[in-house]
């Protein structure tokens, strides 16, 4: 018997990376999944975003656990798209208990050189997109009156300020504020709200040529091998990054009844990166 038997979870950015790992992990614990992803490029993001094939792979992996999944292409910046996707999911799966607001992007530049477009894409995806996700999920969770759990995917950059990541850091700090308010507002209805704060995670958002160049600005065509040492230097624990499954384990805990009185927590999953700052 799983920790999440009979529950339904909405997960954004579910086509790959942390979102896919979360979908599979929650399904392993018995939850049915509503998986959404933009499955398209956002112009200012300097690495490739997920594709429809990626989302199909998430569907296959969730179904391999024996659980049901409704997958939809939706841009979290567009509440109408999110709403339509969730409506399809709830119609098919019967209810909603959990929302994992995971969809996010990054781009980087010195704060004074960030463009209006970069700023807007990061803030609208990483902050407003999360609010949109909560906004569509809360009425569905309320419907059954049994409470629920929201997990907002922040970052170590939601706790500390990273050079070259001013827009990302602003959005991820903003999420902590949003979590604290929603936690206060929804606590009386037994809807818990927490943030997770991953450090470097082994996902396509970290492991791509653009990030290699950011980490190793002095090298010609740096590779994954080259950033391992730099990334390991961020962490007290001897690892360059955590795995998406580590993040998914934390999410599975927070949304389960094991955490039934945990709300308002800012949970780092970062090999101690937050301690160095």
């Amino acid at each position: 018997m799983g920790k999440l038997d009979g529950k339904v979870a909405l997960i954004t950015g579910a086509a790959r990376g942390q979102g896919r790992a979360e979908a599979v992990r929650l399904a392993e614990e018995g939850a049915d999944i509503v998986a959404v992803d933009i499955c398209a490029q956002i112009a200012t993001v300097p690495f490739a975003l997920a594709t429809e094939e990626d989302l199909e792979e998430t569907v296959r992996r969730v179904e391999a656990t024996g659980r049901r999944i409704v997958a939809a292409t939706a841009d979290t910046r567009r509440i109408d798209q999110l709403h339509a996707a969730l409506e399809r999911g709830v119609t098919a799966l019967g209810r909603l208990d959990i929302a994992v607001a995971n969809a996010g992007i990054s781009s980087w530049a010195p704060a004074v050189e960030i463009t209006e477009e970069q700023w807007d894409d990061v803030l609208e995806t990483n902050l407003k997109g999360v609010w949109n996700t909560c906004k569509v999920a809360v009425p569905e969770i309320r419907r059954h009156g049994e409470g629920g759990a929201l997990v907002l995917t922040s970052s170590v950059a939601g706790l500390h300020g990273y050079a070259n990541l001013a827009a990302y850091t602003s959005a991820k700090h903003g999420l902590v504020g949003l979590m604290r308010v929603l936690g206060m507002e929804l606590g009386p209805e037994k809807i818990r709200v927490n943030t997770i704060h991953p450090g470097t995670v082994n996902t396509p958002m970290l492991l791509n040529d653009a990030v290699y160049e950011l980490f190793c600005p002095d090298m010609e065509k740096p590779t994954e091998a080259d950033i391992r040492e730099v990334a390991a230097g961020l962490n007290p624990m001897p690892t360059p990054w955590v795995e998406a499954s580590d993040v998914a384990n934390a999410v599975a805990f927070l949304v389960s009844d094991d955490a039934r009185f945990i709300t308002g927590a800012t949970l780092p999953i970062d090999a101690g990166e937050n301690l160095i700052n």
């Binding site: 902050l127 050079a163 903003g174």
Partner: protein, 279 residues
């Protein structure tokens, strides 16, 4: 006697009245010339009136009464090009820029999942993006001289999650993040970046009917007097709110060389609201 920011030039946004005007005047009292900007017109999603051109002119008069110079511009901090042009005008006229007080901000109220799209956007654009714009407009000058002090006017809501204004709290937490990122980027250039985090301040942003009704839903037409007790109970120190000058004194400290090695600090001027334990 020489003032604590003698001979410096300070940019103050949202300077038409309230905290912004107070910061401008306080810095002028201590010897700074002021670039005072304010939108001076209404915005769509707030229920109280914004400052107007007469308010900004009054700020200018008060600065000049301290014997300092002032350049005013009617500028929306959401409009980077116009803001940068206004800052450039001020630098040209006053001869420099050392202090940035990113103060312009709005407030509106609703449960988090009921906030309208328009209210969310306007809040994030003014209270967060506007701060980024203000620093961005000043940064080339500060970087060129390898000196400067930036003060972001955040809020206790940058540290705690006060219910009923999720977009404001998100923007103010975001402003603390922005402060930390800028502090890291500009520190090596000897530019300091800090934030002030006030509790309720006695200004037109909160002293109006919408807030009175939120604090006293039990009354039909609550007034300022009716919210004293509720507001006092929110704070740790037994005061209902702080005054503009209390915030301005913190801004002045951070802006001055007295704080020359203070950077990355969210400085609470909050009567203890952010550390109060409910019992």
């Amino acid at each position: 006697m020489s003032g604590r920011v003698e001979g410096k030039v300070a940019l103050v946004t949202g300077a038409g009245r309230g905290q912004g005007r107070s910061h401008a005047v306080r810095l002028a009292e201590e010897g700074a010339d002021i670039i005072a900007v304010d939108i001076c017109r209404p915005v769509d999603t707030v229920t109280y009136p914004m400052a107007d051109a007469a308010d900004l002119a009054e700020t200018a008069r008060l600065v000049e009464a301290e014997g300092r110079r002032v350049v005013t511009r009617e500028v929306d901090v959401r409009d980077y090009e116009k803001l940068a042009a206004g800052v450039a005008d001020g630098i040209a006229e006053l001869g420099g820029l050392e202090i940035v007080v990113a103060n312009a901000g709005i407030a509106s109220y609703a449960p988090g999942h009921e906030i309208s799209d328009a209210a969310w956007n306007e809040m994030i654009d003014i209270d967060l993006k506007g701060v980024w714009h203000s620093i961005k407009a000043a940064a080339p000058t500060l970087l060129a001289q390898r000196a400067g002090s930036v003060v972001i006017c955040a809020s206790a809501a940058g540290l705690i999650g006060s219910p009923g204004l999720a977009h404001y709290v998100a923007a103010k937490h975001g402003a603390i993040g922005l402060m930390r990122a800028f502090a890291n980027e500009l520190g090596p250039e000897m530019i300091r970046v800090n934030a002030v985090c006030p509790t309720q301040v006695d200004t037109p942003m909160i002293m109006h009917g919408e807030v009175f009704r939120m604090f006293r839903p039990d009354l039909d037409n609550p007034t300022k007097d009716d919210i004293v007790e509720v507001s006092t109970n929110m704070n740790l120190l037994p005061v209902p709110w702080v005054e503009n000058r209390d915030v301005s004194n913190a801004v002045l400290f951070l802006a001055s060389d007295e704080a020359r090695y203070v950077t990355g600090l969210p400085l609470t001027v909050d009567a203890g609201i952010s550390v109060k334990v409910a019992v």
